[in-house]
């Protein structure tokens, strides 16, 4: 690889100055002429038939411009997959969770909209409701969806090898059950939508999203409009973490109101609505049975997982599979069986969350610690002996082209001082490890590829047009770095047009950890395409062959002879003067198995490559109170190649905070039946600055053969391995396993009391 001048450096991000000055506009900051304010009327019942909706009072209120109910929608049901289409936005038949959308109002101001909501009367016939997996699966329980007996939404079944034989051959077998309630995303930006129709029936719509193209198609279906009239516009987005990938009822409702009122409409969600009416993480119970040989190598694993999916399918098949897939990528095992059940309950809808299933991931890793303890093998050795290696195939038959798992374990152990600390820490001090792996995307059919265009200005600047979306992680900057690198320009020469479905070509979106690998590759290919055309023209001017040229610092020159050079701008003008325009186009479609399907055929290449990571954490527990003081964290990930090291460190640090500190110490939802009792930041405890330990980021690079510059992904793996490390460290500190998460102080006090009793 040639020496890099822009990629691989921690250049300043292109989007952050505007955020530092407050100029950057998020959806709720938008103001359009004559814009109306909308509010949504929500069901107070967890499960009820809708008998009558009377909006006449609202419609008569001065200042109300439009009211919508189920009659205004097409009645079509939404579902991520054709076989999971079960949600009618603004349903006409029944409501299935407290907070479900039933009607909406657009008015001249928020006070009027709120008053109008009170004037809408809805008659319900309450139905029995189920709020836990056990209640939902009980024989005779009320069915939330008629075609799902036992309220089972999805059953993912994977059976590889011979699990029974593997157990029979095992030296030691153990089974443990782990559980955790829901988490919530708490993106700092609450959900909001602004929609506007023009006189030609074109829809402009803005909302925080993890893939504008994934919003446009369902909007097109649900509004019965051709895709070219549905324009999901670029907007600054305040975090996603997995919760903003799908079309939302608010999107459709806002558009319907805008169309009816013939004025732009804005909906802003309260924090409560953001927690209740978007998505949550799944609560889950996981039973893991693992058999190992004398050296702690896993021979066989049998896992059963029940996940509470809430009232509708959402990304059910994906969410039910990902926890298993992360594990099968991270660790070698010949024989494995997985039964994953996603169960409907009358609770808000669950989707994919950055730490995919803490009860699953932490269970797998804590169990490795416990097994190791029985065999006299320390946790690090247990991980090393089971770690995925490059060239392996996962049990569901994905080839792993690059893998730095072992390196992440070794480097983290070294920097954390594992050898000096393990077993030697003072009482109630602990150190722990977690390992995981993340896929870079998955098969997405016709939406699985990304295309980018590049156009030039006559003075040598360029604009990259790409569907890649930035939720705050730095994807826009990635595009600029890559384009600048390949074109030999400086970052300030590159403008970008991104995430706008009218202008930018399709891209799979950021939620499946594939923007760098797929979107970044597309930009790189587009830049290479443009560069080749530039080199053709430059070669003639420099009297050299195109293959002898290279580009850097705004000049194209002959390799090894920097005096033989020509500015990029001049090359463009030379081409233009000859009637030749230069533009670049590139597409990247990951090499995945298109026949792979989550439920029907969960085999074949899942994504083209995978990232791997290890986190270690050192903690001190106050045995009287159960409060945990996290002393230091070491987060490591094989990112393939670090396109921007400081950006990646930011992902590691955020991952430790969300997955570890919050996810394992304080974050969980509290319920009263179907009512969420902690939907806001006061009672849903997010980590604060003084809570956080020193975080050491250890970037490992395995130089993936097909990632852009060898890069893979960097956003999710640390969140998961940090969660696992926190559990491992705390259980080490108190000398007792805890299998219910998060590990709030009462659980530690209880575990210590029980340990004392047993002694």
């Amino acid at each position: 690889m040639k020496e890099l001048s822009v990629v691989g450096k921690s250049t300043k991000r292109v989007d952050t100055s505007a955020k530092a000055t407050g100029e950057a506009l998020f959806t709720a900051d938008l103001s359009l002429p004559r814009m109306l304010v909308a509010k949504v009327k929500r069901s107070p019942h967890a499960h009820a038939r809708i008998l009558r909706v009377d909006t006449s009072g609202a419609e008569r209120l001065p200042g109300v411009r439009a009211v919508v109910t189920s009659g205004d929608s097409t009645g079509e049901k939404w579902g991520v997959f054709r076989y999971t289409q079960d949600q009618a936005f603004l349903p006409s038949d029944k409501v299935r969770f407290i907070g479900e959308e039933v009607a909406a109002v657009a008015a001249v101001d928020e006070d009027t909209a709120a008053a109008a909501l009170d004037l809408i009367t809805v008659e319900y016939e309450e139905l029995p409701a189920v709020f836990t997996i056990d209640e939902a699966m009980k024989p005779g329980a009320v069915l939330i969806h008629e075609h799902n007996p036992g309220n089972i939404n999805v059953h993912v079944k994977i059976d590889v090898g011979d699990v029974g034989k593997g157990f029979a051959a095992s030296y030691y077998v153990r089974e443990d059950t782990f559980s955790a309630p829901e988490e919530s995303y708490f993106q700092t930006e609450p959900y909001a939508v602004v929609a506007q129709f023009d006189n030609s029936g074109n829809l402009d719509i803005w909302m925080p999203n993890a893939g504008p193209h994934l919003k446009a198609k369902p909007l097109s279906n649900l509004l019965k409009m051709p895709l070219n009239k549905v324009r999901v516009r670029k907007i600054t987005i305040g975090g996603a973490f997995g919760g903003r990938s799908e079309i939302s009822p608010a999107d459709v409702i806002c558009a319907l109101l805008a169309r009816k009122a013939r004025q732009p409409v804005k909906i802003t969600y309260t924090r409560e609505e953001n927690s209740i009416a978007t998505r949550q993480a799944h609560s889950m119970t996981t039973t893991i049975k693992t058999g190992v040989d004398r050296e702690g190598r896993v021979l066989s694993r049998d896992i059963t997982c029940h996940m509470d999916g809430g009232a509708y399918s959402s990304t059910g098949p994906i969410a039910t599979s990902v926890p298993f897939l992360c594990m099968e990528q991270a660790y070698r095992m010949e024989n494995v069986r997985y039964n994953g059940y996603r169960v409907f309950t009358n609770k808000p809808i669950r989707g994919m969350f950055r730490t995919h299933g803490r009860a699953f991931a932490c269970g797998i890793d804590l169990q490795l610690d416990l097994i190791g303890s029985e065999l006299g093998i320390d946790p690090v050795t247990m991980r090393l002996r089971n770690a995925r290696q490059a060239g392996d195939y996962t049990p569901t038959r994905s080839l792993v082209p690059s893998c730095g798992m072992t390196e992440t374990i070794e480097k983290t152990a070294e920097q954390a001082g594992w050898k000096e600390k393990w077993g030697k820490l003072p009482p109630f001090h602990g150190i722990g490890i977690g390992c995981n792996s993340v896929q870079t995307g998955f098969p997405m059919g016709i939406r699985g590829g990304s295309t980018a265009f590049i156009k030039f200005n006559e003075d040598g600047g360029a604009t990259v047009i790409s569907g890649v979306v930035d939720n705050g992680q730095g994807n826009e900057n990635m595009i600029v770095q890559i384009a600048a690198e390949e074109l030999g320009l400086l970052p300030e020469d590159i403008q970008i047009i991104t995430a706008d479905t009218e202008v930018t070509p399709s891209d799979p979106g950021s939620y499946s950890m594939c923007e760098t690998f797929i979107g970044g590759n597309a930009v790189r290919l587009a830049a290479i395409d443009a560069k080749e055309k530039l080199f053709q023209v430059a070669a003639r001017a420099l009297e050299a062959k195109p293959g002898e040229l290279t580009a850097r610092d705004r000049r194209i020159f002959v390799k090894g002879e920097p005096e033989r050079s020509i500015p990029v701008g001049r090359v463009i003008r030379m081409a233009l003067s000859k009637g030749q325009s230069i533009a670049g186009e590139g597409s990247y479609w990951p090499k995945v198995d298109p026949r792979r399907e989550w439920v029907e055929n969960p085999f074949g290449q899942l994504s083209e490559t995978f990232s791997f990571g290890t986190t270690m954490v050192e903690v001190k527990v106050d045995p009287e109170t159960g409060l945990v003081d996290v002393l230091e964290a070491w987060a490591s990930q094989d990112v393939g190649f670090a396109l921007n090291p400081k950006v990646i460190e930011g992902q590691f640090e955020g991952g430790v905070t969300m997955g570890g500190q919050g996810g394992m110490l304080t974050e969980y939802h509290i319920w009263d039946g179907g009512r969420l009792l902690n939907p806001t930041q006061l009672e849903y405890r997010l980590p604060l600055a003084p809570d956080m330990p020193k975080i050491n980021s250890i970037i490992v690079e395995s130089n993936d053969p097909t990632g852009p510059y060898g890069a893979k992904e960097a956003g999710m793996s640390v969140a998961m391995s940090a969660a696992q490390a926190y559990v491992s460290a705390i259980c080490n500190a108190i000398g007792a396993p805890i299998k219910e998460y998060p590990i709030t102080p009462d659980k530690i006090v209880k575990a210590l009391e029980e340990k004392k009793k047993k002694a």
Partner: protein
Amino acid sequence: MRLPLFQCLSPRSTKEALEILDRYKGRVKIIAGGTDIINRLRQRLLSPQYAMTLKGVSDLRGIKRKKGHFLISAATTLREIVESPDIAGFAAAIAESAGLVAAPPIRNVATVGGNLLQNTRCLYYNQSELVRKAAPPCLKQGGKSCAALKGGTRCFSVYQGDLAPSLIAFDARVVLKKAGLARTIPVLDLFSRNGRHPLTIGDDEILTDIIVPIPKGAYGSSYQKLRLRSGLEYPLVSSSVFLSLSKEGVIDRARVVVGAVGPAPTVVEGAAAFLVGKRPAEADVEKAAESAFSASRPIDNLALPGSYRRKMVKVFTKRAIEGALLSLRKAGA
């Protein structure tokens, strides 16, 4: 989410404020710092016709050192309490309490009066309408039974103010004024111990001042608070302890006050027996803390189980007694 509509009055003096309270008796709510009431307005837990902001009332602020006591005017901010060398020097637990409230930006506007007069809280009560309206109203909302302890007929909502336990430990008093009348009562008597109507202040009264007596001789105090993180939270339990020493070096007064276990701060009368009459080194901290445990019966209406919080009453009382003993030692006793 917008606040409900109300008309707002902005008096410029305590006298004016009292006139407004008299004129709009029962129809007006006071906004001091606003950090408690604004949220409850937004949640539609109350919807008064009038609000009266004290932000323009300059004669309601200030910490004055008088003969034998401090006079803290009610609209003094928590930040002013934290930054007052006098309070830190003479009433450590009160300064500690103030410094543990929420976070610095809240303390910049929150007032001592507002903190003291905050309403009781409960996971099932302090919710927006979206959550509250999905269940029958609980006792505190005027309904028939408790939502936390299903079917219960007593309200267990929790008084979570940080200042009150320490003020009570110092035997502080408050001055309550209404048109033409002023009365002074111990802080403890502000509390009815009834979660539905937890405060005894009349809806036509303003709390104007807090009187903190400066104890004589050697004394120490400490406030300990249970919270899961390093800021932003109300106490899950708390304990404030005041100990003073006689000239002979024996504990002659002990106040142990537990907070956040029920609708009012609890003075643990039984604890004194294990502390009073003993030299500091002989204080039976364990038994005193145990009596705090016995006197407390929190239920499952906050974030962590009542059983755990009850155990923590003992732990945090122990730590508060030890903190008070330490500050006694530091005072040269």
